[in-house]
């Protein structure tokens, strides 16, 4: 696995983590406030672990990769870039699509010849089991709802798109990197 593939993976998790956190405080149920906030926290933790591996190969740091690139340099899927609040059906559609695809990706990475990648993927998979169960519960509840089905079909093609950026990614980038850009040389 090369550094560019690690960046795709890390960027997906970082940006989706931010997008999921946009539900904190405003989800339709208190339980979902907690769920999406917790999933966001996990995804950002996974992003950091993958960025650390990529950073070693590229001779940089995880923070620089996460926050010091230009928005057009991110390699994440267009699916995770979209700002979907306050559309709950579309959010669950994305959650279902992403977790399904991510499960396959993690299963492949667990078989990697590189023990560090295989080990990290195995660790992440243990946490992701809960994301998949959560996505499954919501899929079962919404699967016959027309708005949900439409959202799944509309969003599905975006999963594989990595070379065109959604316009709202630039806004997220500005928000995400604001504090770091405000103090030159800040680290934490």
């Amino acid at each position: 696995m090369n550094a560019q593939q690690l960046l795709e993976l890390a960027d997906d998790e970082l940006i989706l983590g931010w997008r999921n956190s946009e539900w904190t405080g405003i989800a339709p149920l208190l339980e979902e406030d907690v769920a999406f906030s917790s999933i966001a926290q996990n995804e950002i933790g996974h992003a950091r672990a993958w960025y650390e591996l990529a950073a070693r190969e590229l001779g940089t740091t995880a923070d620089e990769l996460a926050f010091d690139r230009r928005p057009e340099e991110y390699r994440c899927s267009r699916l995770v870039q979209l700002r979907l609040v306050p559309d709950w059906a579309a959010t669950i559609a994305r959650h279902h699509l992403y977790e399904t695809a991510d499960a396959e990706r993690i299963a492949t990475l667990k078989q990697s010849d590189d023990p560090e990648i295989a080990g990290l993927a195995a660790k992440i998979d243990r946490e992701e089991v809960y994301h998949r169960m959560h996505a499954q519960m919501w899929f079962e509840r919404l699967q016959d709802e027309p708005r949900f089905k439409e959202a799944v079909e509309e969003l599905r093609p975006l999963l594989e798109v990595r070379d065109q950026h959604a316009p709202e990614l630039a806004d997220l980038w500005a928000e995400m990197t604001e504090v770091r850009r405000s103090v030159a040389g800040a680290t934490w």
Binding site: E43, I44, G45, R48, A49, G119, R126, E127, V129, M133
Partner: protein, 161 residues
């Protein structure tokens, strides 16, 4: 010269920053302790990768070892060697006494939704199994929320991972 036992003893006094009823040794996150000359190397196996307590744990371990007069090196091991099965029997009992239901043993293939929705989980307050899954997620990454129909009390269930 610091001994391995002294290091284990101080590590056993460091509480989990988010669940202070149990120590880092109870939690099973210390993979190994290696003492050579004046350097102590600790293998630290994190719980959840996004857990903000990890840095606090790592820094607390280094600080306590340095108080013993040795240099500390904490190696973070990011593989799946930690699971909730590593929590010690004493740790499980401390969790229960603190109002946290200890994790169910990990089965092959990991936890399943149908199992979490079953009545396999005991209320830490009254011991009843008449409990329901309220939320897979809780106030920290390592916890779910359940509800006991017998004593009508919500409680936190340590996730099995």
């Amino acid at each position: 010269m610091v001994t391995e036992q002294q290091v284990w003893d101080v590590l056993a006094e460091i509480p989990d920053p988010e669940i202070p009823v149990i120590s880092l040794v109870d939690l099973g996150v210390i993979g190994s302790v290696d003492v050579s000359r004046d350097q102590v190397c600790v293998e630290f196996t994190p719980t959840f990768l996004g857990c903000p307590a990890l840095e606090v744990m790592r820094d607390a371990m280094a600080a306590r070892i340095e108080e013993l007069g040795a240099d500390a090196r904490i190696d973070v091991i990011s593989d799946d060697s930690w699971s909730t099965d590593r929590i010690t029997p004493e740790g499980r009992e401390k969790l229960r006494a603190g109002g946290f239901a200890p994790p169910a043993p990990r089965e092959v293939g990991g936890p399943k939704l149908v199992q979490l929705q079953s009545n396999a989980f005991r209320c830490p307050y009254c011991g009843s199994r008449d409990t329901t899954l309220e939320n897979l997620f809780g106030p920290t990454p390592c916890r779910s929320v359940r509800y006991c129909r017998s004593c009508r009390q919500p409680f936190e269930q340590f996730k099995t991972i």
